[in-house]
């Protein structure tokens, strides 16, 4: 066959890319994974995402879909089973709210944890833990954010578990201590094959931050 019907342009450490991987795995979709070198992006990526030039990009039958949450919703609609978003409009709105909250808060605040030092780091640590606590509140005593079933918010947030070691080692705290329910949720999610196959080893992510990213941002 000339080309795969489903191609994912991605970068191994990207939590946004992991969302796409998990969604595709949940749906049992066969796809071609293509690793992008973010310092030397392929022509194909630049053509498929000319505006933002970012991964992940899902290319389905030659047509690109960009932005991780949009990819997850697209995958949910193009391959119906099992559903990631609930059926009821209000529950869907709640799921989208929390997925957008993760987008707005977790990555940026988390990034500051390994970029800042001293008082600024302490303030960021407090901010980050507040964010985690809000998410833990949304999870409550449910098995998953989606209730009994692994769903949209779970897919949106679980990739960051591969970055928790980065946040914990720089902020000097442990997620499972400050938010035990979230800690238990992470363990439950990791039992799913779609998650365990899509998330990289947290130690590799930590090494990537310490060796590559810090140098890129000029941080000691």
């Amino acid at each position: 066959m000339a080309g795969s019907e489903v191609v994912l342009l991605d970068f191994w450490a990207s939590p946004f890319g992991m969302r796409a991987r998990i969604a595709l795995a949940e749906k049992g979709v066969e796809y071609e994974y293509r690793e992008e070198n973010l310092a030397d992006k392929t022509e194909f990526l630049l053509r498929m995402n000319p505006v933002h030039k970012k991964i992940p990009v899902l290319v389905h039958k030659g047509r690109p879909v960009c932005e991780s949450l949009i990819i997850v919703e697209y995958v949910d609609e193009a391959w119906k089973k099992p559903p990631l978003l609930p059926a009821d409009p209000y529950d869907r709105a709640t799921a989208r709210f929390w997925a957008n909250f993760v987008d707005a808060k977790v990555y940026d605040c988390g990034s500051r944890l390994w970029k800042l030092k001293g008082e600024a780091l302490e303030a960021t640590k407090k901010e980050f833990i507040d964010i985690l606590k809000l998410l833990e509140g949304a999870l409550g005593d449910k098995h998953f954010f989606g209730g009994d079933h692994f769903g949209f918010v779970d897919v949106s947030f679980i990739p960051f578990a591969s970055w928790f070691l980065v946040y914990e080692s720089h902020g000097n705290f442990k997620v499972e201590e400050v938010c035990p329910k979230l800690g238990a949720w992470v363990k439950r999610c990791r039992e799913r094959e779609s998650v365990s196959k899509s998330l990289p080893d947290p130690h590799k992510v930590l090494e990537f931050v310490n060796v590559v990213l810090k140098k890129k941002y000029g941080i000691e």
């Binding site: 609609e77 193009a78 940026d108």
Partner: protein
């Protein structure tokens, strides 16, 4: 009996106006509650404890905050007169435009921040901000692809999401005696500005231009250093 619909808003907020436009398009009856943003109501704080912002839609007592989430909710809870296409790929493309228009997180394409910069700067800085804004708008010009609306022949979700642009840009142009979007530089977008603003379901929900200009003047004055 249909469940009660309430919208908590602030008259000058573009995010609130776009929700009003969507409700109007769908013909949904609702009670509008004006919030004093300096003294937020209990209902608002309870309905949106995370962000404490308007707009919040309350449907049958259940709150939905965040304008984009509200718009998608409106589309799904009242599926007659759809604002989004049926095809999953077309649906995926619609929010991509949404992200191009307003999502500022590390996006090289930032209409909202560059619009704010244009509003808050003067002289050379404002000229540069205007250039940046026009460059961002050029991508939207291309996205229209010669269509009357972003959604095609008739207006849809993306038009409503992008709809703050024509209204606020025209107000700022009036305020500064300037022209940002015109026939000469962005002909398709210029035509879309006119076509969108003249749609009845849009026109009915726009705040009065004079009141908006006075509000903008007030904002500018408050930004002046003492």
């Amino acid at each position: 009996m249909a469940k009660e619909v309430k919208l908590l808003g602030f008259w000058a907020s573009a995010y609130v106006v776009r929700v009003q436009i969507a409700l109007n398009f769908k013909g949904i009856e609702y009670e509008y509650v004006e919030e004093d943003l300096k003294k937020k109501s209990e209902l608002l704080l309870q309905s949106n404890p995370v962000y404490r912002q308007v707009p919040v839609l309350v449907h049958g007592g259940k709150p939905i905050p965040e304008s984009m989430v509200i718009l998608e909710y409106i589309e799904e809870a009242w599926p007659e007169k759809p604002l989004l296409p049926q095809d999953p790929y077309q649906r995926a493309m619609a929010p991509t435009f949404k992200n191009k228009i307003y999502r500022s997180r590390s996006s090289p394409f930032q209409c909202l921040p560059s619009g704010v910069k244009y509003f808050t700067t003067k002289g050379e800085d404002q000229l540069k901000a205007k250039e940046e804004l026009v460059e961002n708008l050029r991508i939207l010009e291309g996205a229209l692809q010669g269509n009357k609306f972003f959604a095609g022949e008739t207006a849809g979700m993306v038009d409503i999401v992008a709809g703050w642009l024509p209204f606020w840009i025209r107000r700022m142009e009036g305020l500064f005696g300037d022209k940002v979007v015109e026939e000469d530089n962005l002909p398709h977008l210029n035509a879309w500005f006119q076509d969108y603003l003249s749609l009845p379901f849009v026109r009915e929900k726009l705040p009065p231009p004079d009141k908006v200009c006075a509000h903008l003047r007030g904002l500018l004055a408050s930004l002046e250093p003492n």
